[in-house]
Amino acid sequence: MNMLVNDFAARADTASGERPLLRIVIVGHVDHGKSTLIGRLLHETGSLPDGKLESIKAISERRGVPFEWSFLLDALQTERDQGITLDTSQIHFRTAKRDVVLIDAPGHAEFLRNMITGAAQADAAVLVIDAAEGVREQTRRHCYLLHLLGITQVAVVINKMDRVDFDESRFRELETEMARHLASIELSTTTIIPVSARDGDGIARHRASIAWYTGPTVLQALDRFLPAKPLTDLPLAIPVQAVYKFDARRIVAGRLETGRISVGDDIVIMPRGTTARLQSIEAWPMSEDSQRPRSARAGQSIGLTLDRQVFVERGDVISTPAAPARKVRRLRARVFWLDEEPLTVGAAIGLRIGMAECRGTVSLIENAVDPGELAPDEASAIARNHVGEIEIALLQPIAADLYTANPRTGRLVLDLAGRIAGGGLILEVDDAPDRLKEPNRSTAADHAALETQCTRLNAGLIDLPPAKRLALFRKEIAGRLVFATSFGPEDQIILHLLVEQAIDVDIVTLDTGRLFPQTHELWAETERRYGRRIHAFYPQHDKLEALTERHGINGFYASREARLACCEVRKVAPLNRALAGAAGWIVGLRADQSQHRRGTALLSVDERNLFKLSPLLDWTRQAVLDFTAAHRIQTNPLHQQGFASIGCAPCTRAVAPGEPERAGRWWWESDEKKECGLHERPTPAKIPA
């Protein structure tokens, strides 16, 4: 707004551009006098441009309405017509100590999203209450939102004291009520000021009418607020905005939300847990290397390079290894909700934390309340402009923190179809332990304990349908779970059930390099349909090169030893990498697939000491086909051509009617145990060194 400058106090020496800037939001119930207070503040401090007051008075007269101080702020025709602030306005003015931006937030419930937009930018807040009307629903709602938005400096202004004849007992009554209310929502203030904004009483000075009050005026209270400090003392967090390759440099760009960083520091990239070292901080303009920054601190937008080629992408968080951001699969948050449709359990919503965006499902809603009325809502929904606690299961892990640990990486935004619909603070997170930190489960004692747990769980699993088996498995097993799909019909069903229920599991596949093109097509189609990436694990190139060197490109036909060596390099080793650090995995085995598989249990403990769930173990081939048809689940077109079980192209052929399902795998071998070693290790094959 073009109202600048005031002279109410001696001008400070420093130029304005170097003076600190303080943003203050004025909130409160509609008609309690927010805009009047601001208009009066501008007038009392001599901040209005010459002639502005006179021209507004003239316009009021022309329009036949009595002059109001709030007219100074109403920017839009509709605001002037209705005498109501629709959207946040901002007014610059200056005190002796600093520059101030006053943010005028609308007080009408209808425009709560605008109040939030304004208040979220503020360092401090002034809450205005009509002395005659007292505390109303928007008073309480705004208080609660200030708390959720993280604003801790609040001054309360009891306005319109003229309407209660400057009665001290009325003021004390409201003072006590507000102090109690603020404390109940974890806000506190020591500043509660009686004023009459219309008359200018209590703004810059107190008149005799409020002689019983000895505290600060509004202007003095504003000068006591402090600008929000950058969070340099918290552990490092840089949400990655982008990775640029404009030239030879690979620059990771982002803003330090918290902490500090120096060249040479070790960093860890969450949620993946990759480590690297800070090689340089890039900047422009920079005529010589000596001008290159060596360190950066909270608040700065920087570009950096790392000492090695690690995978990093938008949404990751660069942390310090001493206190990394957490890898989060599931979280609990206190949120406010702004969309017209209430937020309900089961809702699929978008979640944004820092630059990370992820879809998730609301699994629980508790303590929903209208903060204006302080009346609890009905059970499991958060209505528009209400608040509540929710639990969300995320489709992918993302980096985040508890709000109490880091106020920046500990808050989130909810969005619906790309439009921001709510936000809140993270109260609890369910960590999927980092792979590297996963406890080593290798001892015999561990194995025995796992077997006991396994037996107990099998009893509970046996009577459940597959969807519930998956849910129970997730619920009972702490830590990372992996589903390795080969895109067979059973795997397609499991993937469908996992995504449909938003069960928190890593979905991976092993690309052996010899798959059918149809399998790759199905893979891509499946990603498209379910909107999520299926992470691929590949053979290690050096092992593969040694294998083909020794046995030739199709050497697996020559001997069982050569075939198993190939399976080991192309399938087993990649699987082991996919399962590293996991607590359990899910497979599409069925008992009727082969004589050998008949002996397995729904849940077992494998030789890696991982839980292994086969949720479709007791399904027949026909049950699988019926389910895929009923749910229009895509399957490999090769099944139509007589292929039953599909693996690598050179090692799979169609089967004749009546032949066992796995007869088409490694058909040239006679052994009944047609396994590659993923599910059970055959006699170990020697791997070429």
Partner: protein, 264 residues
């Protein structure tokens, strides 16, 4: 970090968000002090080069000094400059007051450029302290399919989370310096030694405080011959920045009407 560092860090953050979240963006270069600061910050955000086109919607009525500045620095700063003309005055809503009608040519030129390049994001150098309706803007501000601004239905925007999913065919305005003041622009221009058009400095006791079309922009009385002088002058003045822009003052709601239909 001092205040200018703080403002700059926030603007860099906004530029990088726009570049990451939208597919086809362009920076509106009016050649004035604000958009020059924007270009400067964009070069900082992207390490020396602006990685998207810079659009000058040319009314054909700018001051000669402005065209000279454009041609020189487009080359010097290695900008991907697109110059787009505006339709003649006859094609503009005749109910607007004369200067606003003239200014509205730019809105129409902008619409044509949008249709031509199908940008989904336009970066504009407006500031909240310039003018009351601009004070109500969002950083990422959605525009309707007709390019219009619906001030009654602005989405919430907080904690630096921006709404960046325009519906197909619509676009977003992105305002990286919305939070700066006029004084901030000048102190930053001084600190960073960003080139300016000489019209901002006094000539015969007058200077331009805000630059637009030569026929509807007027100089203010001033003896400020350097940026230092301008800073001192602004610290004392009570005259609004856009006092010399005729279209703002013709009617109570002239500027609001311009903005609702897509003016900056």
């Amino acid at each position: 970090m001092d205040r200018l560092d703080d403002l700059e860090a926030q603007s860099i953050f906004i530029f990088r968000e726009a570049f990451a979240r939208l597919r086809r963006i362009s920076l509106l270069w009016s050649l004035g002090k604000d958009s020059n600061v924007m270009i400067w910050i964009a070069r900082k955000a992207f390490f020396g080069r602006v990685p998207f086109p810079v659009l000058h919607v040319d009314t054909g009525k700018k001051f000669p000094e402005m065209y000279a500045f454009r041609d020189r620095f487009a080359a010097e700063w290695d900008l991907d400059l697109k110059i787009e003309p505006c339709p003649p005055i006859d094609a503009i809503d005749p109910t607007l007051p004369p200067a606003a009608r003239s200014a509205a040519r730019k809105t129409e030129g902008l619409k044509l450029a949008l249709a031509k390049y199908r940008f989904d994001g336009l970066i504009a150098g407006i500031r909240r302290d310039e003018e009351p309706t601009r004070a109500k803007e969002r950083v990422f501000s959605p525009r309707g399919l007709d390019g219009g601004w619906d001030v009654r239905d602005q989405p919430p925007e907080f904690w630096n989370y921006f709404n960046a999913s325009p519906p197909p065919g619509a676009h977003l305005r992105i305002h990286p310096i919305l939070h700066w003041s006029e004084l901030d622009i000048w102190t930053y221009t001084r600190r960073e030694r960003i080139p300016i058009i000489p019209l901002y400095l006094t000539r015969d006791g007058k200077r331009y405080r805000s630059l637009g079309d030569s026929d509807i922009t007027f100089p203010v009385a001033s003896n400020a011959g350097t940026i230092d002088d301008i800073v001192r002058e602004l610290e004392a003045t009570k005259i609004p920045e856009r006092a010399g822009r005729a279209m703002d003052h013709e009617a109570e709601d002239a500027f609001e009407r311009l903005r609702v239909t897509g003016y900056l």
